[in-house]
């Protein structure tokens, strides 16, 4: 097996606060292969965005990576000096943020921002960088790119601005793109275009994509594999068709049950009772146990470790042969 583009092992991220240290990410592991799209889902506060930010090294103090390791094509990047990490950002890892309306500097022409990024990472002349910028704008589907390159961000619509943001993220041919809720701030009609654009770019350039979202529809449409996060941990990870059709973890089951179907059946949508615990108040044992319908004694005491079930991996005691007997 070839080396994955991104490999995250036992990542721990902590935030120092007045009430003590809060652990936002607690032992998260996953890989993304070349050309693969990994969808990361979960409720707000599950740690999806923090995971993305720690990969690109933009966790702001008081947050810090407290443990584990992150490797980019084998190179360990979680403990690089700031200047070396800066050279990786934008060049080997591109990032797309949620809100295209605020992601671009309003005072600079979009072309200048692209040229600036290209010239930071690649040794190109002003003219060559500009030609490349026009090609990039064309590639992300901006009409008349040779004219639009001299436009200011406020002259673009939301969807067009997200295309510019994507052009900025891919301008140095990164190996990995982290897309943090790239469609949440957009109209539904534009969302599909942006999703298919990200998918196409990933395929054409062999780029690995980490797609953070809370929209299961987006995941089902785009991802090859999906990681379900809950309270700073990965509850379940596996190929997208398996996780969507046959979720194992009770939380993943709940998530899938909460997707409305167009089949016309009048069933009420399933809700997961309760809400996600605060970081300062994570329950003992499995963090999902207070909301879980299948919880038994062991869940309230012992934290479940990931178990392999076919292509899927699930962190739940229900699938541990040892506890299966006691539960029954």
């Amino acid at each position: 097996m070839t080396e994955p583009v991104l490999s995250v092992r036992n990542l721990e991220v902590e935030f120092a606060s007045r009430r003590g240290t809060l652990r936002a990410i607690d032992g998260v592991s996953f890989d993304i292969a070349k050309g693969e799209v990994l969808g990361v889902v979960g409720e707000s506060g599950a740690g999806k965005s923090v995971t993305g930010l720690s990969v690109i090294g933009l966790i702001d103090p008081p947050g810090r990576i407290a443990g584990g390791e992150i490797r980019l094509a084998g190179l360990r990047i979680d403990n690089l000096p700031p200047e070396e990490m800066r050279r990786i950002r934008g060049k080997r890892i591109g990032m797309i943020f949620q809100d295209p309306l605020t992601s671009l500097n309003p005072l600079y022409k979009v072309g200048d921002q692209i040229v600036e990024t290209i010239r930071t990472h690649l040794n190109l002349s002003e003219q060559a960088a500009r030609r490349r910028a026009i090609d990039l704008l064309a590639e992300v589907g901006i009409p008349a790119p040779d004219k639009r390159i001299d436009g200011y961000p406020h002259e673009f619509s939301g969807g067009m601005r997200q295309r510019v943001v994507i052009a900025l993220a891919i301008c140095a041919e990164p190996e990995l793109i982290i897309a943090d809720e790239p469609t949440t701030a957009l109209d539904v009609s534009v969302q599909a275009q942006i999703i298919s654009l990200i998918k196409r770019l990933g395929r054409d350039h062999g780029t690995a994509v980490m797609l953070v979202t809370h929209d299961m529809g987006v995941i089902a449409e785009t991802s090859d594999r999906v990681a379900v996060m809950y309270a700073g941990r990965v509850a379940e990870i596996g190929p997208v068709q398996d996780v969507v059709r046959n979720p194992l973890h009770p939380y993943a089951k709940g998530l899938m049950g909460a997707i409305p179907t167009l089949a016309g059946d009048d069933k009420r949508l399933v809700q997961i009772p309760g809400s996600m615990p605060r970081l300062s108040n994570i329950p003992r044992g499995c963090s999902f146990n207070p909301r879980c319908g299948s919880a038994f004694d062991r869940c309230r005491v012992e934290r479940p470790e990931p178990l392999s079930r076919g292509a899927q991996s699930v962190a739940c005691h229900l699938y541990d042969p040892v506890s299966a007997e006691t539960a029954a």
Binding site: I56, L58, R86, R87, I88, R89, G90, K91, G94, M95, F97, D99, T102, S103, L104, N105, P106, L107, Y108, K109, E116, T117, T120, H121, Y152, H154, E155, V165, L168, A169, A172
Partner: protein
């Protein structure tokens, strides 16, 4: 853009007419000007003749129209104390005041922006704390006290700098400048620091607050995610976004700098318009006071206009709203 400038210019003229009313009414409330011009033994008939020759028995509205008409041509009458046209007196002293105000503003902008940026980027360094403390002093101590303290230290005790006046000046046409002689430059140091200190602290605090605000925005985060160098992010992206409000404040403050120059000019006996105004107040020289009021208002209004236009140059978003509005 032209329509926008024109509309602003018309508003500016409205403001100037309003100021004209105030300036004009000063003459009417400060007693009979004829009494101040003539001696005790002038007969009633002579007084009436003077009154008629000056047009003082015309209806008020006619007199006001005449005053504004003359003011528009920069004719403000004759000073009571100097017996010279007020315009000449003001023009003689304007270079001194403008030079002082401009140097003070440049000093305030340069050091204010530098200190502000530094204390935003190195928030916890000891130098940033020193800047904060200095800015507190600059804001709370009155101008004249700082001026007097500096005179005591640098002129009286150390003897490095002249304590009053403008030094040697060079005439360039009707303009006089102290920037070309050593004594002129030395004389400029303390007054411009005194005058600019308040603006400097204001700009420093503003830059610091704005910079901290801008550094939290999404586009700065995205700029970091793009791997731009720290220098490009801080000075290319963050500072330029910080400068929009700074231009406004610095621009509007330039008017106050000229107005505050009254105090600084008095402390340093600087031969500018402010000193002339203070002397005029002491001698109830209404034409000078009225003309000074008009001049300062004109400067304020002009600066406002320039700042509005500058905005659109710095911030492209305003360019399109401005053209869309028409």
């Amino acid at each position: 853009m032209l329509a926008f400038t024109l509309r602003r210019a018309i508003q500016a003229i409205g403001v100037m007419i309003a100021v004209g009313i105030i300036a004009f009414s000063m003459f009417r409330f400060a007693g009979d000007p004829v009494n101040q011009m003539v001696g005790m033994d002038t007969s009633g008939a002579e007084r009436a003749a003077i009154r008629k020759s000056l047009g003082l028995d015309d209806p008020v509205i006619v007199q006001f129209g005449r005053y504004v008409g003359n003011a528009a041509q920069f004719k403000f009458g004759v000073s009571y104390q100097f017996r010279l046209p007020v315009t000449n007196l003001l023009m003689e002293r304007m270079p001194a005041t403008l030079e002082l105000a401009i140097v003070a503003t440049i000093f305030a902008m340069l050091s204010g922006i530098l200190m502000g940026v530094y204390s935003a980027l190195r928030r916890d360094s000891w130098l940033a704390h020193v800047f904060q403390a200095v800015s507190l002093i600059g804001i709370s101590l009155p101008t004249f006290l700082i001026g007097v303290l500096m005179i005591y230290l640098f002129s009286v005790t150390l003897g490095w700098l002249p304590s009053f006046g403008r030094g040697d000046v060079v005439h360039i046409g009707w303009w006089t400048t102290g920037l070309l002689t050593l004594s002129g430059l030395k004389a400029l140091i303390m007054p411009s620091i005194t005058l600019g200190l308040f603006q400097m602290t204001l700009i420093m605090r503003l830059v610091r607050a704005e910079m901290l605000e801008v550094l939290r925005t999404d586009y700065i985060r995205f700029a970091r995610a793009r791997g731009l160098t720290t220098r490009a992010i801080h000075f290319g992206h963050a500072l330029r976004n910080t400068l929009v409000p700074v231009i406004t404040v610095a621009g509007l403050q330039f008017g106050s700098v000229i107005a505050f120059a009254i105090i600084t000019e008095t402390v340093f006996q600087w031969p500018g318009m402010g000193l002339l105004f203070v002397q005029a107040v002491q001698n109830v020289d209404i034409p000078i006071m009225a003309a000074y009021l008009m001049m300062v208002s004109l400067i304020f209004v002009t600066i406002n206009l320039v700042v509005d236009i500058l905005y659109t140059i710095v911030d492209p978003r305003l360019r399109s709203t401005v053209s869309r509005a028409h």
